[in-house]
């Protein structure tokens, strides 16, 4: 059998086929994730159009600077992740570990900024439905609905980030132990697909939540 090449699992003909199977499985998983977030986006679009003034007022209460900063951080982490996959493909162990560490650091920066700068601020301002809601201006009920969407969508996204950070920690340990090679890098690439997907979700969350509220 293929005992001479232990990067290849027995059920595959060659490395190319194994790579294709991994990618297919990951993309099918990502398709289910698209539908999961798609439901949230659909609900947001509908209620935004039903209660437009309140949702626009809600958008204006978010900090667009931190939002844009975090977008840039996440895009940078996607770049370092893509470079990490490239390093794994070329068998450059040191570069792989460095790029994975950079990705991890940028991911933690994103979650940290979200938590310490945005959510904490919202909590102090009394804008967190269920935990601390003290807003009693006009249309408070519909504004509360906006913040329900905001916290659920950004919360689920941040949860995906935390999962991604966990995956990165495992990858860094594996890379440090020399588990990857130009024949055996599928795990890194599939983690990369997941990381880029989480980035894409944010690419849509940022304009939907922060930008289209009419900031002029």
């Amino acid at each position: 059998m293929h005992s001479s090449n232990n990067a290849l699992a027995g059920q595959f003909d060659d490395l190319e086929q194994q790579h294709e199977a991994s990618s297919l499985g990951m993309w099918v998983f990502l398709a289910t994730e698209i539908m999961f977030f798609g439901g949230l986006f659909t609900g947001y679009v509908i209620f935004r159009n039903l209660d437009l003034p309140a949702f626009e007022a809600g958008s204006r209460l978010l900090n667009v600077r931190i939002g844009a900063f975090n977008t840039a951080v996440l895009l940078s982490s996607s770049l370092t992740m893509a470079l990490a996959v490239r390093a794994a493909q070329l068998g450059k162990k040191k570069a792989l570990v460095i790029f994975l560490l950079l990705t991890l650091l940028l991911g933690l920066t994103f979650v940290g900024a979200k938590l310490a700068l945005e959510w904490r601020h919202d909590f102090i301002e009394g804008l967190v439905p269920g935990l601390n809601w003290t807003f009693n201006g006009p249309d408070a009920a519909h504004l509360e609905l906006f913040f329900c969407f905001y916290f659920f969508m950004t919360g689920v996204h941040a949860a995906h980030m935390v999962v991604g950070v966990g995956i990165l920690v495992v990858l860094i340990i594996m890379a440090g132990r020399g588990k990857f090679s130009p024949q055996r890098f599928n795990v890194v690439e599939m983690a990369g697909l997941y990381w880029h997907f989480v980035d894409i979700i944010w690419i849509f969350l940022f304009p939907l939540l922060y930008l289209i509220g009419g900031r002029y």
């Binding site: 679009v45 470079l83 130009p182 990369g192």
Partner: protein, 109 residues
């Protein structure tokens, strides 16, 4: 060796494009375009997502099978959004017959 190896330069080029589009979408949101603000924001987001999918996620160099999976997931997403939004926002188009309304009121009682 499986998988396509992308030149580093291309990754940096795509990244520069993504950052430029982020600056553009943030800037545009401060200009009053009426309904076109939402259109512009979403169009730019679709461009950014396409860049990530095609280059960072290697779809540009992937097999037809993977492309079919990606495109069909987007088709299902379009069905989800299209039919749900279509339902909610066309409910007022056809008036409810008055006999139905009295019937419903009786049911509530």
């Amino acid at each position: 060796m499986p998988g396509h190896i992308v030149p580093k330069k291309l990754y940096f080029l795509v990244f520069a494009g993504l950052i430029a589009l982020t600056a553009l979408t943030t800037g545009v949101s401060f200009i009053n375009l009426g309904k076109w603000n939402a259109v512009a924001a979403l169009a730019i987001a679709v461009c950014k997502a396409s860049l990530v999918v095609l280059f960072f996620m290697h779809l540009r160099w992937s097999s037809g099978l993977l492309r079919v999976v990606v495109v069909s997931s987007l088709v299902w997403l379009a069905i989800l959004i299209g039919l749900t939004v279509g339902d909610v926002f066309t409910r007022g188009w056809i008036p409810v017959p008055s006999s139905w309304e009295t019937q419903t009121q009786q049911d509530i009682r």
